[in-house]
């Protein structure tokens, strides 16, 4: 291999290496440094020393604890629910012929829309204002329930809207993946089972589910990761000041620390983001271990 040839390869790679080096590899090292630098000052870019103070501060910050609580609620509610509903819908889609493509296309629409923009529509549908109860509340009233302010009201109501919107946003991807997984299951298996007179539920439990289990686990794992990083959907509904709404998430806390109303503490932001990364990493490893035991490839 001539030197010139080797140089050429690196030349083609150079732009990618520069971009990744500056904006991914270096930041990765830097963020760890920041998180241990105590008393970092943004203006003078200096600090006193190294230690665990930033982590201690973040872990004792009530805003952070609230953010952790909110994030875990989002994860625990939306991941199983969205995966379950997506599975039901995909099974339904897979059992029909006419209109199947139309349904599939419609279901995918939220994927390409701007979450910030559509979140405003959700806010309006759920919001109670001086001159109108809002559409959802009118619906509740007509069912004999009293109205609730979902945007500025009680905690559970806000959680409900947040989870509802999150599920609405993540569904397209899950339905798409599951329908293509289901379409990939060989018809022979079903026909054989049908000849044997196997019940529908048993077919699902014994054939379909094992066959698509890798994809379900893929969705669960990516779903966990995505839900832990929830942020934009919350901003879309509750506005940028999530702390005031009591609806902040861990990622939101990181950004608020970096910039925003409390602004300018990259050390705290780094510590918080490393804590988030540790949580996500642990959960993903656990997920992978469980999937190794249960998934049939």
């Amino acid at each position: 291999m001539s030197k010139l040839k080797s140089l050429k390869g690196w030349l083609y790679l150079l732009p990618a290496i520069l971009f990744l080096g500056f904006f991914m590899v270096y930041p990765l090292i830097d963020v760890v440094m920041y998180s241990f630098e105590e008393g970092y000052n943004f203006a003078s870019q200096s600090h006193f020393g190294y230690g665990l103070y930033n982590f201690k501060y973040v872990l004792h910050d009530p805003y952070f604890l609230q953010a952790v609580k909110n994030t875990f609620i989002i994860v625990i509610i939306t991941v199983p629910l969205s995966t379950g509903i997506a599975l039901l819908i995909s099974l339904g889609l897979n059992s029909i012929k006419p209109l199947k493509e139309l349904f599939q296309t419609v279901y995918f629409l939220p994927y390409v829309t701007n979450t910030l923009a559509v979140g405003l529509v959700f806010m309006i549908l759920f919001k109670k204002t001086a001159y109108s109860e809002g559409l959802v509340n009118l619906l509740l009233n007509s069912l004999g329930m009293s109205s609730v302010d979902f945007i500025d009201g009680p905690y559970w109501a806000k959680i409900f809207v947040m989870c509802f919107y999150t599920i609405w946003v993540v569904m397209p991807f899950k339905i798409l993946i599951l329908t293509s997984a289901l379409a990939g299951v060989k018809k022979d298996y079903y026909n054989a089972a049908r000849v044997d007179g196997t019940s529908k539920f048993r077919i699902f439990y014994k054939i379909t589910l094992p066959m698509i289990s890798p994809m379900i686990f893929y969705l669960v794992i990516t779903g966990f990761i995505g839900a832990f990083k929830a942020y934009s959907d919350e901003v879309a509904i509750f506005g940028t000041n999530l702390n005031a709404a009591g609806m902040n998430t861990i990622v939101g806390y990181v950004y608020d620390m970096l910039y925003g109303n409390s602004g300018g503490y990259p050390s705290y932001a780094s510590a918080a983001s490393l804590i988030l990364f540790a949580i996500v990493f642990t959960i993903t490893v656990i997920n992978l271990l469980i999937s190794k035991k249960n998934v049939q490839y």
Partner: protein, 293 residues
């Protein structure tokens, strides 16, 4: 065992058919129900955007049709707030980011797929491992870097950290490798330069994948919110996502929801049109490995 008569068989078949059509009907009803949940917000945003301010506020029970449709809100959206500015910024940002990303990605994918050089395998392994790095982790330093480079509120600051994408390099490399290597060798014998081979042969052959990557990146850019929010605090460089938050918090003076919805429609429209044209390609591209966020 008693023999089944023809009538018995018919009865069984009929019963199966009835239960089949019942479950079909239930399936269709449920699927339609979810379809309505998906479409309703879009319907509501368009509907509200064509109601006048006074009629919207006078409807205690909102009407499901607009009795006196108006386009006044769209005029307001473009004149009262800086919507056209946000829109134009986003177009510039999206086009530039996607274009630079594509050049960087094609060059890197070609190097990995066809060129031989020292340290190629280890570099590729490092690239792959970078796919696991969440953006949340690197955003902090990038914010400090861009601030130190005095690039806040500039297009360079918006674009530079959004360019590199390991996943697309990986995807394109896999595609490039599927093109028979004989073509490359033949081109070499003919004295064709690498760059010429890349532009004249490899790119045209892999056009479908490249278009898919372009579309996915455009969607990502159009909807990006977090990074633009961090590095811009002047309206002159707001993108639509930040613009809509600005409109929500400080726009239109009073709570003018119809005008706000007009802005939302304008912002959503480009991607909806893109989706209607390319929905097959987009869905295929996403199922091949795209994730959201």
């Amino acid at each position: 065992m008693a023999d089944l008569t023809y009538e018995d068989l018919q009865k069984i078949e009929k019963r199966a058919k009835v239960s089949g059509s019942v479950s079909k009907t239930v399936t269709y009803i449920l699927l339609t129900f979810w379809g309505l949940i998906v479409l309703f917000p879009f319907y509501w945003m368009v509907l509200t955007s064509i109601k006048s301010y006074s009629s919207y506020n006078s409807e205690y029970i909102p009407k499901f049709i607009a009795t006196h449709p108006t386009v006044q809100n769209y005029f307001d959206a473009f004149t009262t707030v800086n919507l056209s500015r946000y829109f134009l910024n986003t177009v510039v940002f999206t086009l530039l980011t996607t274009a630079i990303m594509m050049v960087v990605t094609v060059l890197a994918a070609f190097a990995f797929a066809r060129l031989d050089f020292k340290g190629k395998n280890i570099t590729f392994a490092i690239f792959l491992s970078l796919m696991m790095i969440p953006t949340e982790l690197v955003v902090i330093t990038n914010y400090v870097t861009i601030t130190n480079w005095h690039m806040r509120n500039t297009f360079a600051g918006l674009i530079l950290p959004s360019v590199a994408s390991v996943f697309y390099i990986y995807l394109l490399k896999e595609n490039f490798e599927q093109v028979p290597e004989e073509l490359y060798k033949a081109a070499k014998v003919d004295g064709t330069s690498d760059l010429k081979y890349l532009i004249k042969v490899l790119i045209p052959i892999n056009k479908p994948t490249i278009i898919t990557i372009l579309i996915l990146k455009v969607i990502e850019c159009w909807n990006s919110y977090v990074w633009p929010r961090l590095v811009t605090d002047k309206e002159t460089h707001f993108l639509v996502s930040n613009g809509i938050q600005e409109i929500r918090e400080n726009g239109f003076g009073r709570e003018n929801i119809p005008a706000m919805m007009a802005a939302v429609v304008v912002i959503s429209l480009p991607l909806v049109i893109l989706f209607l044209i390319f929905h097959k390609r987009i869905m295929e591209g996403v199922s091949r490995g795209g994730t959201k966020g």
